[in-house]
Amino acid sequence: MAKQLLLGNEAIAWGAIAAGVKVATAYPGTPSTEIFSTLAAQAKHYGFHAEWCVNEKVALEVAYGSAISGARTLVTMKQVGLNVAADPLLSGTYLGVKGGLVLVVADDPGPHSSQTEQDTRQFASFARVPVLDPSDPQEAMEMVIEAFNISEKYRLPVILRPTTRVCHVGQDVNLPEITSRNSEIRFEKGGDWVIFPSVSLRKHGELLEGLKTLGNEFSNFRFNYREGQGDYAIACSGVSYHYVKEALNRLDMIDNTEILKISTPYPFPEELAAQFLKKHERLLVIEEQDPVLEDAMLRLAGKIGLHLQLSGKHDAIVPGTGELNVDLVTRAIANWSGKNTENKSAAGKPELPLRRPILCAGCPHRASFYAIRKAAGKKSDTVFTGDIGCYTLGMMPPLSAVDTCLCMGAAITQAQGIGRAEPGRQTIAVLGDSTFFHSGITGVINAVYNQYPLTLVILDNSTTAMTGFQPHPGTGQTATGEMVAAIDLQKVLEGCGVTYIKTVDPVNLKEAVTAVKEAMTYDGPAVVIMKRACINLPEVKGFAPVVINIEKCKDCGLCVTEIGCPALVMETGQKPQVLESCAGCGLCIEVCPFDAIQGGDN
């Protein structure tokens, strides 16, 4: 088959299809999302099941059920998703699997679009799960297939851990051959599928034995190897491998350096690494995120009694935070080897405009936040607890309506904690529809149970917008496009015991403000659902841009400074202008005190 430009995420999906995946599950999260989207689009054609799950814990549990029935199963998530799925992972590793179970957990050094820079290689070693660390899309695709084989051979879940620069990198990839694979799928009763203290002890022992054997096997794994030769010695993993090779070329050191590429940080291929360590006294380890290889090599050196000078993150030759790149790696290698590099920095660059990601023109969240601010009162001391999604951007001025953001679902629970610590302090929790289904419901039940007068605003835009518009239980559509009964937020809340629930259109500002005010004073948990679809959904028709009536406009500028819409601009001393990007939501019409804006949705 001809080579194709595939993103790492697409390549991983094709690898899984080639490996004969039977069930795929996921919750969206950057940079992992497109793996599952690609799978979902192919599910019917290749005859496997694919579903977006409500969260990562659920996704892994569904996947685990399929795997112990003998099916090859893939589950994808971003790195913080693994925190949510930690419980089934750690127990599932003890009990093991029958069909191959591969978790693709995408890390995001930088971070570009994540809460933390946590290192899944570290998580894998904590959870005692083998982890493969690809350096580019082609390798990621081949490694998925290997991961299924390892998983079935050792009856263990296996993690593939790509990073942003593998997931969102395009490469000319050779697609694998897709052959049909027949395996008997049947859950056998009487297997070791019940976790129980005495079972755990036995399983723990078997697990450690298996990992030891696998660690030995990894010394001959085709993605772990030594390359080149010379006086210099550098160990690396993941995308850093490519940075190292390019940097060595730039520094003219490629012919005098031996590289050790480790693609299996856990279990660590000790035999291969020991040969490398014994040959060099001075070594450098280059890796992103945590010093995982570095620590493994330090341990190994101690174990086999080598006295080494091992550089890396512990002596700050390699940066301890952020993403690496060729320039940083070149500087690190130059520093370590005593070479000079020019530091070319641009002088005299004019001040550039501050361009931050913002809510789109016509975004319903802008109206919701504006209504929440209005209801709370301009100078109010109300704490706005926020959550994960596009609407985290509500923290930016002029909306400034997000004071906290911790993790999925925490808007609801953090509000309760703040209110408990500081009785009488008004809080308003704000989170999106997909996040509510992910992990908001338990927080609502907690508030009802413990009689906390929660004020919650659910921003229901009928999609998971931030990660690229995935459906969720409230949308009535599945990953593979089936139309199903949508789960009604209002009924869920009623079932949880919430007695004040109001659904409003946030662009209908007056109604929205009244609803939030009522919720704030309601005696008991109260929820306002701000319902309006994301402006970017294909089925949402925008309205004609609004028009400013120049006669009526008094140049007060409130339409610009109150809501920060990117479609409204105003040069000093001039009238405001409406740009082409205006979606006609009409929020500015409500904001203008002089009725000078017309048209749009209203």
Binding site: K3, Q4, L5, T30, P31, H112, S113, D136, T164, R165, H168, V169, G170, Q171, D172, V239, H242, Y243, K245, E246, N249, R250, N325, V326, D327, T330, K344, S345, A346, G348, K349, P350, E351, L352, P353, L354, R355, R356, P357, I358, L359, C360, C390, L393, P397, P398, M466, T467, G468, V560, T561, G564, C565, P566, L568, V569, M570, E580
Partner: protein, 195 residues
């Protein structure tokens, strides 16, 4: 050959980088592209990197080493100009997308200074009003087509016909004519500038 494409979320830099990458693969080259998807898409700054050649390493282009910089927006071109080699070629859309922070008084957009700064650079520079040309072709949304057409006239290694074909296969039929026109206008503009 290393190409930086930068602009603002929604301008089509991701599309353009994939079109160039796919064309290069069809011409028999190895390709690496890199893009940042996610939070930055919402009117934030976006950068796509395309590397084309025979023995490629990682996906990221080192500083001061890109052969081409395609700036889809003026300020974003200045933000990324450090990536361009002194012998490189910048192609910069003079169209400005002024972020709300400027209207809120938090930052400024010094247009003239930015253009002067680009002119002071040792690299070669072509300024192009791609939005105007796209509008002339029939839609301001055809900016990527203008930029790709202009790029095809600058870069002898990428086959112009294949590049246009690759772009068109990724667009719905109803906008193909407009984009073909936009591509041609971009190309003609550069040919006029470099003649």
């Amino acid at each position: 050959m290393d190409i930086i494409m930068c602009g603002v979320g929604g301008q089509g830099t991701v599309l353009a980088s994939r079109v160039v990458g796919e064309t290069a693969i069809k011409q028999g080259y190895e390709v690496r592209t890199s893009e940042i998807i996610g939070m930055a898409q919402r009117e934030g700054p976006v950068v796509s990197q395309v590397r084309i050649g025979t023995k490629l390493h990682g996906p990221l282009i080192p500083d001061v080493s890109a052969d081409y910089l395609l700036g889809f927006e003026l300020a974003e071109a200045v933000r990324n100009i450090d990536k361009l080699d002194a012998r490189g070629q910048a192609l910069v859309n003079t169209h400005m997308i002024v972020p709300p922070t400027v209207y809120l008084g938090i930052s400024q957009y010094p247009e003239e200074q930015l253009i002067d700064y680009l002119k002071e650079q040792p690299s070669r520079l072509i300024l192009i009003n791609a939005n105007k040309l796209a509008d002339q072709a029939g839609s301001t949304k055809a900016v990527s087509a203008v930029m790709l057409g202009a790029f095809s006239a600058l870069c002898p290694d990428i086959d112009e016909t294949m590049l246009l074909t690759e772009l068109l296969t990724r667009l719905p039929e109803r906008v193909q004519e407009i984009n073909t026109r936009a591509f041609e206008l971009g190309k003609e503009f550069v040919e006029g500038e470099t003649r």
